[in-house]
């Protein structure tokens, strides 16, 4: 099956072309064309997975020489190894489900065919990104997914703010892409090649451990990742990107594209292992993003924005994992996150559909009665993202936290733990606000609330199922599991560690099973605390909290005794503090990042208008300019002789 891997990008690419060309004629059938192509990719991906599983990889398929400059060649070549095949599976499965869901969600929308053409184009680019065998091809996929993302963000072009969102996304990403391209050029400059194998094989020889060049390269690559994966300080574009249709948010802005940055860093783990400073920065930015985004998530009213911030926060976790050297854990979190976040977004889509387009959670409530399946699947995914024991998120998040702790980043571990508490809190808050309690919707809409058609609920059920069980792929050894996932990825993700080992710079930390169990317990506890807090606040309402504590959880009875203390603590430190922090993050966002962007834009503009003033239209003014130029050329020629 490996020989047919070219089919994976080819099928959605063809679908995009066909729908693009014959969309007018295909109309609603265009959805089926796209779905058929995606199902085809699932088959091929599974086949590739099977082959890799049986030790046939890594496999490189040369398609053609794309760019050749002298001895340097950029091949259009696809690389299938353990890492890319995992990503293939994630993208094809989640992608197919989102495609199926879209046929229901987008029914009757204007530009139905255009939507599917763009979505297929996105799938094509994403597969290209994942399968690329060199940096250039990866960059093409990288730009391609970006482009499709902007196209789809701006899908509802009637909304004028969608224009600003698309533009902001584009410019922020151009900043990141600039870093990525610069890194590519630096790699090319120093190693003379751009294929992954070529660069990584040479890396230990040409790059000094902790040297300036490799640090610069990795930081520039990370700049690209920060842009694409919406990390601090470039995360502003992602919440705004929610302007697009909800299935797009599910696929692109949650499950696949935004994880491209994580994928890229893991792909380059050899380089990152050689640059400890960069690793440290990655970890710090990851943890900071996880924390700040989670704290912002607590105060949001818009259900999609809550999910957007939670995506940013979860991506932060992934980068935290990478930063502390747990590359496999990062990929595992991509894997599980794709399922539960995909599920959450699709559920949100159902809810918004039922609410006739209203995103505000404070207008919802009590929807579990009319929307059983949506409620249950949302509940399952919420459990998973909060890290409720034995769900998918529990295993992946716990592994990250454990890896952080083990590598000695105690502060980052604490930050991650607090973020986990907040995650549980705001996710259950969104669950309770949306599905529980009394409906706060206007009568007209209330009557309209109903369960969605099967094309929309089916993907929910599949994704919810995976959210609950996907964790069993990698039960840690301490729980008598096999850590299969980590084991599977080992050949790819451990190369950096091996190189460090050869260089004798890495000191393997001793494994203490008891400690791991203890930490696992701690994080479980904190998740339960978060859930309980959300329950107390949003189901029971604040005044009855002590009674509720006493009745439901005898353990916490004593705590509830100190009502004033809890109240004060919550109010003064937690609620106020979080709100303040969230506000601060927003301020930072608006004033600093937007300020930097706008400031640069302003500077550029003022230079430009000054240049424009020179252009008076007066002939001889141009003549004087020319004479200055001619004098300069001749003078420089004579001087540099």
């Amino acid at each position: 099956m490996l020989d047919y891997v070219w089919l994976v990008p080819f099928l959605p690419g063809c679908a995009a072309l066909v729908i693009g060309l014959f969309g007018k004629w295909l109309r609603t059938r265009s959805g089926y064309v796209a779905i058929a192509a995606m199902l085809g990719t699932i088959v091929v991906s599974l086949g590739c997975f099977w082959d890799i599983l049986h030790g046939k990889g890594p496999f490189t398929q040369h398609l053609f020489t794309w760019i050749s400059v002298g001895e340097f060649k950029a091949e259009a070549a696809l690389l299938v190894d353990q890492l890319s095949v995992v990503m293939l599976l994630v993208v094809s499965v989640v992608g197919s489900l989102v495609f199926i869901y879209s046929t229901g969600y987008m029914k009757g929308e204007r530009g139905y065919a255009r939507y599917f053409a763009q979505l297929s184009l996105f799938a094509f680019s994403m597969f290209l990104l994942v399968l690329a065998d060199n940096f250039v091809l990866m960059f093409i996929g990288w730009e391609g997914v970006g482009l499709c993302s902007y196209l789809l963000i701006g899908y509802y072009m009637d909304k004028t703010w969608a224009a600003d969102a698309g533009r902001k996304a584009f410019i922020v990403n151009r900043i990141g892409d600039f870093g990525f391209l610069l890194a590519i050029f630096l790699i090319f400059w120093t190693s003379g090649t751009l294929t992954f194998s070529g660069v990584f094989d040479q890396a230990p020889v040409i790059y000094k451990y902790g040297g300036g060049v490799v640090t610069a390269i990795t930081l520039l690559l990370f700049m690209g990742a920060v842009g694409k994966s919406a990390q601090i300080p470039l995360f502003i574009w992602l919440p705004d990107a929610m302007a697009g249709p909800t299935p797009v948010s599910a696929l692109i802005h949650a499950a696949t594209m935004v994880t491209a940055g994580v994928y890229m860093v893991v792909r380059c783990n050899v380089l990152y292992s050689l640059a400890p400073t960069s690793m440290e920065i990655v970890a710090i930015i990851g943890a900071a993003t996880a924390f700040i985004a989670a704290s912002i998530g607590i105060t949001q009213r818009d259900i999609k924005r809550v999910l957007a911030y939670s995506t940013i926060s979860q991506l932060g976790y992934m980068f935290l994992a990478l930063g502390v050297g747990a590359f496999a854990a990062g990929i595992f979190h991509i894997f599980t996150h794709a399922f539960f976040k995909g599920c959450l977004f699709l559920c949100a889509g159902c809810v918004i559909h039922a609410m006739a387009g209203d995103n505000d959670m404070f207008h919802m409530g009590g929807m579990r009665k009319q929307m059983k399946i949506t409620w249950l699947t949302y509940f399952a995914a919420t459990l998973a993202i909060s890290g409720f024991p034995l769900t998918a998120g529990f295993f992946s998040k716990d592994e990250i936290l454990w890896a952080t702790f083990r590598s000695g980043h105690l502060i980052l571990w604490l930050v991650g733990l607090v973020a986990a508490f907040m995650t549980a809190f705001y996710m259950f808050r969104s669950l309770f606000l949306t599905f529980h309690g009394e409906s706060r919707a206007p009568e007209k809409i209330k009557a309209h609330i109903h369960e969605m058609p099967r094309s929309m609920t089916f993907p929910l059920v599949v994704l919810a199922f995976f959210s609950l069980v996907a964790g069993f792929f990698s039960i840690p050894k301490v729980l008598k599991g096999s850590a299969w996932f980590e084991h599977f990825l080992h050949p790819v993700t451990n190369r950096g560690a091996e190189i460090l080992h050869e260089l004798h710079v890495a000191d393997p930390t001793p494994h203490v099973p008891e400690l791991e169990l203890l930490l696992m317990g701690a994080s479980t506890l904190i998740v339960l605390l978060g859930i309980a807090a959300a329950y107390a606040v949003y189901i029971k309402g604040w005044p009855e909290i002590p009674k509720a504590w006493a009745q439901r959880f005898g353990v916490f009875y004593k705590l509830s005794f100190h009502k004033w203390w809890w109240d004060d603590l919550y109010n003064s430190t937690f609620v106020q503090g979080t709100i303040r922090l969230a506000k601060a993050a927003w301020q930072f966002d608006i004033f600093v990042i937007d300020g930097v962007i706008n400031g640069t834009a302003f500077m550029v503009r003022s230079v430009a208008s000054r240049l424009r003033k020179l252009q008076t239209g007066q002939l001889q003014a141009y003549g004087v300019g020319m004479l200055i130029g001619i004098n300069l050329i001749v003078l420089l020629f004579l001087l540099t002789r």
Partner: protein
């Protein structure tokens, strides 16, 4: 003491493209005289036929590399590629013209004939290997373009553009001629091959004249190519000229100019006295062009002016390859490839953008705001424009990306990392204004003008041109070797 000159041996097939092109243009003028008024619009299709014919003849002529006219022309692979690019550009320009020519009451016969004459100048410029031939080709090209710029006789802006273009062009030509004089004075020849041979001997005495001469010639080229300190004519002329002619000036004359500059630089670069330092002038010009072009484009409201500034910036990118070719012989092949590919890419992207501008512009009016909501009223035109803008920005997998990649990697191979970084930064800045066009088209409410555009048919020829250039932008972006493997 002086050998009797002999008649240079000529092979018909080698000179056929030039002779036939010339005769074809004259024939169109003559036919225009005798045809009844309502039949005169046959000139443009005839012109296109001529381009196809010349393409065929050129392929024949380049079967065997040769040096007709005693070495004045050189039919090498480089020239072949340039001619391919020029012919593609010329053909597309003729295709996008008919509706504009019709709308603005431009005389068909003269327009087509002058366009063909300009192409003759470009082709000759690409193959000329002698300074006087180069000067005369440049003049054939420039005079045709001066006239074509002012061909909209009812439009005072067109005349004004012609006046500025003409006066500044003649001014720069004077410097070019002075440069040729000094180069001749230093070496005693105007044949580039002979100059290259005599440089080591002549250099001991009159090296300074070579530098002065080359500097002045370079200045003349900088004017033609709209490179930074000598770029100021470009926006005004681009805005005032008829849109298809703007496209032609922006693309064809640059391709030909770079081809000729390549020939001149190649003859001088191997001379011992020309060290890497010598060519830092090119470095400075390239940086100036990239910075000024991209920055000034940001505040433009007129699409033609915007494209003018963007073309200045693109000239800057392309000049990097000339710098590499001149200063680092080891990377010369790669840089030449990069140059050829980028010229093709540049040609296609700009012609696509101008083609859409012609389809949308009414009476030379090309404010960007008039493109608002074009995606809603005429989605295909908007898509074509968006493709052109993305390619100009350098987004893969378009030709613009591959071309920039070629150029910057050649620069890096030659050790000009800083140029690659400046170029990259410049193209990040350029994203701002290219994107604005896309945002206006896709995310604003449709304007009255966009609605009017939708009502007017684009025309078969123009649609064909847009289709061909769009397809080529994508295909050559995915399979760049198709172009570079032509020969």
């Amino acid at each position: 003491m002086m050998s009797q000159p002999t008649v240079p041996q000529l092979f018909w097939v080698e000179v056929a493209p030039f002779v036939v092109l010339c005769i074809w243009a004259l024939a169109i003028i003559l036919a225009d005289l005798f045809l009844p008024a309502e039949r005169r619009r046959v000139a443009l299709p005839l012109g296109f036929l001529g381009v196809v014919l010349i393409a065929y003849l050129s392929i024949q002529a380049f079967e065997i590399p040769g040096n007709p006219f005693g070495g004045m022309l050189t039919l090498d692979t480089f020239a072949f590629f340039c001619i391919v690019v020029i012919l593609v550009g010329g053909g597309l320009t003729i295709l996008i013209s008919p509706r504009y020519v019709q709308r603005e009451h431009i005389p068909h016969g003269e327009y087509t004939a002058l366009l063909l004459f300009a192409m003759l100048g470009m082709i000759l410029l690409a193959v000329s290997n002698e300074l006087i031939t180069l000067l005369l080709s440049l003049e054939i090209l420039s005079l045709s373009l001066y006239i074509l710029t002012g061909i909209e006789r009812h439009n005072p802006r067109s005349s004004e553009a012609a006046l500025k273009y003409f006066l500044l062009g003649a001014f720069s030509t004077a410097f070019l001629i002075m440069g040729i004089a000094f180069l001749y004075g230093a070496t005693g020849s105007t044949f580039l091959v002979t100059i290259a041979e005599r440089l080591p001997a002549a250099g001991q005495q009159s090296a300074l004249w070579v530098f002065v001469g080359f500097g002045l010639i370079l200045a003349g080229f900088c004017f033609k190519l709209a490179l930074a300190p000598l770029h100021m004519w470009a926006p005004d002329v681009y805005e005032g000229a008829p849109t298809p002619i703007t496209a032609f000036i922006a693309t064809g004359s640059k391709v030909a100019g770079f081809a000729a500059l390549w020939h001149v630089v190649m003859s001088l670069a191997d001379w011992q006295a020309m060290t890497q330092n010598t060519f830092y002038v090119l470095w400075i010009i390239a940086v100036f062009s990239m910075v000024i072009g991209n920055f000034a484009a940001i505040v433009q409201k007129n699409i033609k002016r915007l494209l003018a500034y963007s073309s200045i910036a693109h000239s800057g990118y392309i000049l990097i390859t000339i710098l590499v070719i001149a200063s680092v012989p080891a990377v010369r092949t790669n840089a030449t490839q990069a140059l050829l590919y980028y010229l093709m890419a540049y040609m296609l992207m700009n012609l696509l953008a101008f083609g859409v501008a012609i389809a949308c512009g009414r009476k030379g009016d090309s404010n960007i705001e008039h493109y608002a909501g074009l995606a809603r009223t005429s989605p295909l035109l908007a898509a074509a424009m968006a493709l052109a803008m993305l390619s100009l920005t350098g987004v893969p997998p378009t030709v613009g990306f591959v071309g920039k990649f070629y150029i910057f990697s050649a620069a890096i191979q030659a050790g000009y990392l800083e140029l690659a970084i400046i170029g990259l930064l410049a193209s990040v800045v350029s994203a701002v204004y290219y994107l604005r066009v896309i945002v206006v088209m896709y995310m604003h409410e449709p304007s009255r003008e966009a609605a009017e555009t939708a009502r007017e048919p684009v025309g078969a020829a123009n649609s064909l041109a847009l289709l061909v250039s769009s397809v080529m932008i994508i295909l050559l972006g995915i399979f760049p070797f198709w172009f570079l493997g032509l020969k």
